[in-house]
């Protein structure tokens, strides 16, 4: 159990991070009012003047004074950024110049009308997004806002005043903002209104009288006051949590709201956000994808609602099911939701009864301990499920044609059949055809066929024929039953098909995800990884794909990977760059630059943006909500894998650097020691000789001369080793393989170093009749020399060294062994590593000799191993392949 009095470290950390963010990020101050005309702009300018007096650099980014004199006077003399003029459909609109402000980088900028909607073609659709970008750039912003424009309050304001609010800002945009409430008693505001001091746009003239009614104003004021108070409350809460004051809410609540393409969904979301905010509870928005495919406008509305839910701070969950109630309850249980919010039913009760009870009734019955809120939700337009406008695609025309053809064909068959059977049997034939048809075409053509066949049957076959009249009650019953069954069959078959299609889609998604994961796992390097990502995303989303990553060689600017299938235009690249900088999706069907051709998604892994994935569906199609979800899952997966590969690469690089550092350090240590020692010897001996020149009486300096010779020999060997090692490392060792006499090799080697090994008797044992061996004589001489030296250096004087050569199967075995103390066991695995020196090694030596042995032997296709003999002493064995030498013809003696 944790001590409730102690501040939770996570909370403290979050507070610290928030604090840090606050320091780098610009501060937002909102001059908040209940209605237009309360004097927000004026208050903002006054505050700006105070800041200037305090020595700050203040610039006007955008100011709307509506020509009021007092306000204009206050703004006079303040530096301001010229507005951008935009032509749009013959209108000249002036907008804030975001880039100019970013370029000027004032410490504080004034931006009027936070909720303003930008002209099409600007970077962001909304001004608040411009402001967020300014804040991100570290610029402080003063802005003005009326309560009616706050997303979560817009619905309340609409209900109170009856005015539809079009320009709203998400509540999240106000997170961390400082509020200054600009308050005015309603009577005073009305007085100002009467005096013409409040600007009302012409279009709103009609609504104004309603809006500014005293009752409305009081209510608006109340909402504004509460909202401002609530925001202060947030800060208090954060403070209390950080200070370890027990949570007074302790709600533990988790809200879940249903999300759909229905127009009522938006107000439901706002309601949920308000409740969540009041409860201080996290909330989820669940979208249940039904087997029925959505029409274009429905899909668009759904995308908008999903975006809205995210904007309002909900966690959006996407699930597929053919039963909304079941899906919602399933998700609610999975996510431990405590409350579910749904809209009050407004549809036809009868249809819902047929479908197994209304959503609400079933939810209430099956929800168990989860609370249900039924909210009266109102749509932007008061209608339920807009029927999709009939778009006649060639494919649809074809299926309707098939339906008509089937009806005609079966009618023909029935005309023939009616000679042998009763007309009632013919209805069954029609029914059969309708059912068959339903398996191949969509619901529309099926229903058409069902209706048509019913009437054709009635008209042609039911007596009296050639009339729609039905005389016998049996026939009537038969007709009605037929009609209902045909419709139901058609409906069921179509639903089944849609369900199958959804199932297939789900399966495709799962398969795509699996394939991606599998393919990515097989990537061998970074380039491979990127190429696979591009290919798999392209396949799954049916789209052109580009992957851009910061280029280390171009100052970190975002550069598309060459294997991308979508060649990003300059404009798209700038959208991608924006998405990268701001770590947010941008482009099509997002809030930023929605006019772009495709969507640009940041690849974020472990708090780092590793790149941007840009996707443009083939033929300019919209991304379906399911595809978007899949894409996001892909993006997450790719980001993780790229990041992991990056880390792996970095780790490897670090290891290599570390290794080379270690090597150069060892090299410097050993080389400086190895070079300086003989130089010191030469220097000392030479200076002694030099001194002897002046006193000829001194003893003959032979000893000194011997020392000089010994030192130069040692230096020469060292340089030889270094040269050999360098040649090995740089790949310059190209053995000249030639037929060689092993006996000759051994004898030359031993003879050459006899003097140096004077204190270590060397015995050579060469198997008689050894064939010639293909090897590089010079390299092998060096190998044997190094091994013999090694034995001499690491064994006490007097230790004998043995050199043996014999054939062993198809190999020449050269063995250098001694009866000294042997190799330290812990050294065995590293003994051939360059610069490795056994712990017990005597002073002197560079640790290169054995590395060269290994390098040279392996260059000739052989191998070498080191071991200790059971009888004591070290043993090095070289194996070289034995080939049959070409014949040399014998010839008679003279």
């Amino acid at each position: 159990m944790t001590d409730p009095e102690r501040p939770n470290p996570d909370v403290l950390l979050a507070a610290l991070q928030k604090e840090e963010q606050r320091q780098t990020r610009g501060k937002l101050k909102v001059f908040f009012g209940m209605a237009p005309g309360v004097g927000k702009t004026y208050a903002m300018l006054e505050a700006a003047r105070r800041e200037i007096a305090a020595g700050r650099q203040v610039t006007i980014g955008y100011l709307q004074t509506h020509g009021r004199k007092e306000t204009d006077a206050l703004a006079e003399g303040l530096p301001s950024i010229p507005r951008l003029t935009v032509e749009y459909r013959g209108m000249t609109l002036s907008e804030m110049d975001l880039d100019a402000i970013l370029a000027r980088r004032p410490s504080l900028v004034l931006v009027d009308e936070f909720a303003h909607t930008n002209a099409p073609g600007m970077r962001h659709p909304k001004r608040y997004q411009d402001v967020l970008e300014l804040l991100d750039a570290g610029i402080d912003v003063f802005t003005t806002l009326n309560v009616q424009h706050v997303e979560s309050r817009a619905e309340s304001v609409r209900q109170i005043t009856g005015a539809t609010i079009r320009e709203t800002i998400p509540d999240t945009a106000l997170d961390g903002a400082e509020f200054e409430l600009v308050d005015l008693p309603p009577e005073e505001l009305r007085a100002r209104l009467a005096a013409g001091k409040v600007y009302i746009p012409d279009s709103a003239q009609a609504a104004q009288s309603n809006f500014f009614r005293p009752g409305n104003l009081s209510a608006l004021r109340e909402i504004a006051l509460r909202f401002a108070a609530e925001h202060v409350g947030h800060d208090v809460l954060a403070y209390r949590q950080a200070q370890g004051i027990a949570d007074p809410w302790k709600s533990g609540q988790r809200l879940l709201v249903g999300l759909s393409s229905s127009p009522t969904s938006a107000s439901l979301l706002r309601w949920a956000r308000r409740l969540a905010s009041e409860l201080q509870a996290p909330w989820l928005a669940v979208y249940v994808e039904l087997p029925r495919p959505l029409s274009g406008p429905e899909q668009e509305r759904l995308n908008r609602h999903v975006a809205l839910a995210r904007e309002l701070g909900a966690q959006v969950i996407h699930t597929t099911d053919d039963d909304v109630t079941r899906a919602i309850l399933r998700v609610a249980r999975e996510q431990n939701a405590t409350q579910i919010i749904v809209g009050k039913p407004t549809g036809w009760r009868a249809i819902e009864m047929i479908r197994g009870g209304s959503l609400l009734n079933r939810l209430i019955r099956e929800s168990g301990n989860i609370d249900i809120h039924a909210v009266r939700a109102e749509g932007e337009a008061p209608m339920l499920r807009t029927p999709p406008p009939l778009q006649f695609t060639p494919a649809m025309a074809k299926s309707y044609g098939i339906a008509l053809a089937v009806v005609a064909g079966v009618t023909g068959v029935n005309v023939l059949l009616q000679r042998w059977t009763g007309y009632q049997t013919l209805a069954l034939v029609y029914l059969l055809s309708v059912v068959m048809l339903a398996m191949f075409v969509a619901r529309g053509p099926t229903l058409l066929a069902a209706t048509l066949t019913a009437f054709v049957w009635d008209f042609l076959f039911v007596p009296p024929v050639f009339t729609f009249r039905i005389e016998s009650s049996t026939d009537l019953l038969f007709f009605l039953t037929y009609f209902v069954i045909a419709l139901a069959m058609g409906q069921l078959a179509a639903r089944l098909r849609a369900q199958q299609a959804a199932e297939r889609r789900r399966e495709q998604h799962a398969t795509a995800m699996y394939l991606l994961t599998r393919e990515l796992a097989q990537a061998t390097d970074f380039a491979d990884l990127l190429a696979i990502s591009i290919r798999e995303v392209g396949k799954a989303a049916q789209a052109e794909v580009a992957l851009s990553m910061p280029d280390e060689f171009q100052g970190g600017s975002l550069t598309p990977y060459f294997a991308s299938t979508w060649a990003l235009s300059e404009k798209e690249q700038s959208v991608a760059a924006w998405a990268y900088r701001h770590r947010q999706p941008a482009g099509r069907s997002t809030d930023t630059l929605p006019s772009a051709e495709g969507v640009h998604l940041p690849l974020i892994a472990a708090e780092r943006t590793v790149g941007i994935l840009s996707v443009k569906p083939h033929g300019g199609a919209q991304l379906a909500s399911g595809d978007r979800d899949l894409l996001e899952a892909f993006v997450r997966q790719i980001a993780i894998v790229i990041d992991r590969q990056r880390l792996r690469d970095a780790e490897q690089r670090a290891k290599m650097v570390e290794e080379s550092e270690r090597l150069s350090k060892t090299l410097l240590n050993s080389i400086s020691h190895e070079i300086r020692t003989p130089i010191a010897a030469i220097n000392t001996a030479a200076s002694a000789l030099s001194a002897a020149r002046n006193s000829p009486a001194a003893t003959p300096p032979w000893k000194m001369i011997d020392e000089i010779q010994e030192a130069t020999r040692r230096l020469n060997i060292l340089v030889g080793n270094l040269l050999n090692m360098t040649r090995l490392e740089t790949g310059h060792v190209k053995p000249k393989l030639d037929w060689c006499d092993v006996a000759d090799l051994v004898q030359v080697t031993v003879k050459d170093i006899e003097k140096d090994l004077a204190r270590h008797p060397v015995s050579a044992e060469i198997e008689p009749g050894l064939p010639l061996v293909r090897m590089d004589f010079v390299l092998m001489q060096q190998v044997l020399t190094n091994l013999l030296f090694n034995a001499a250096v690491h064994t006490p004087p007097g230790t004998s060294v043995k050199l043996e050569a014999h054939a062993n199967n198809n190999a020449l075995e050269l063995v250098v062994s001694d009866n000294g103390p042997g190799l330290p066991t812990e050294a065995l695995p590293y003994i051939f590593d360059k610069f490795y020196r056994a712990p017990s090694a005597p002073a002197g030596g560079t640790g290169l000799g054995l590395a060269i042995v290994k390098g040279f032997v392996e260059a000739q296709g052989g191998n070498v191993k080191a071991e200790n003999q059971p009888t004591g002493g070290a043993k090095f064995t070289i194996l070289l392949p034995l080939f049959k030498p070409p014949p040399v013809n014998a010839e008679p003696a003279l």
Partner: protein, 233 residues
């Protein structure tokens, strides 16, 4: 130097290292040579043309041109004995120099005694090629006119090829012969790469001529380069 008669032999040292030239001059002048110096290949060639020396000591690593090139240029018009100074780890350079007409090579770093001995051999070789039909080295006695080979006074039976090989060595006693030179002379130009013939026949010769074939004293191996028949004392 008791052997040399007449005026002091002229030696031209072609080496870019001042210190080495200084050292060589001290050594050689002490042995009765008259020493000239050249620091570059071009200078060496010019000098050799204007004042033909009796002997040239040529360094392979020259600043302006490769020592082998200098050697080839010299050999276009001069048979002056040339002893090459080389660095140990470039056997192929030594072979190239020898095949291009160098009389011998000395590996850096070298002992003064070794260098002087090589110079003597190179110089004598030019003096004594024609006369001296009987060659004596230790227990070995080769009569090139009678085509007989004796060891400790005993006749030694050699095959035709063995004898040709030995004759080649005797003719160039004290001098290193490269694999290619030997193969070309004894077996013919098409055998230049058939080193295995050489290995086998050298082993045969040693078997027949050496007192201890395991520790040859007469025919010694020059690793990566060729063989040398020791010079008579």
């Amino acid at each position: 130097m008791s052997e040399t008669i007449g005026p002091k032999p002229n030696v031209l040292i072609v080496d870019d290292e001042l210190q080495l030239r200084r050292l060589l001059r001290a050594c050689l002048e002490g042995e009765g040579y008259n020493v000239e110096e050249a620091a570059t290949g071009q200078e060496g060639i010019t000098h050799a043309a204007q004042h033909p020396p009796d002997l040239i000591v040529l360094d392979l690593g020259l600043p302006d041109m490769d020592g082998v090139t200098v050697l080839r240029r010299l050999r276009e018009w001069s048979h002056v004995p040339v002893v090459v100074l080389s660095v140990r780890d470039r056997e192929e350079d030594k072979v190239a120099a020898l095949d291009s007409g160098a009389d011998d090579y000395v590996t850096k770093p070298f002992g003064a005694g070794e260098l002087l001995a090589r110079l003597r051999v190179a110089q004598r070789h030019t003096i004594s090629t024609a006369e001296n039909p009987v060659f004596r080295l230790g227990d070995l006695e080769v009569d090139l006119t009678a085509r007989t080979v004796k060891r400790k006074g005993q006749d030694i039976k050699l095959t035709v090829t063995e004898y040709s090989l030995l004759r080649l060595f005797v003719q160039h006693a004290g001098k290193v012969l490269t694999h290619a030179q030997i193969l070309k002379e004894v077996w013919g130009p098409t055998y230049v790469d058939q080193t295995h013939y050489l290995r086998v026949y050298i082993a045969h010769l040693r078997e027949k001529l050496e007192n201890d074939p395991g520790k040859p004293r007469l025919i010694t191996t020059e690793p990566g380069v060729g063989y040398r028949l020791s010079a008579p004392a």
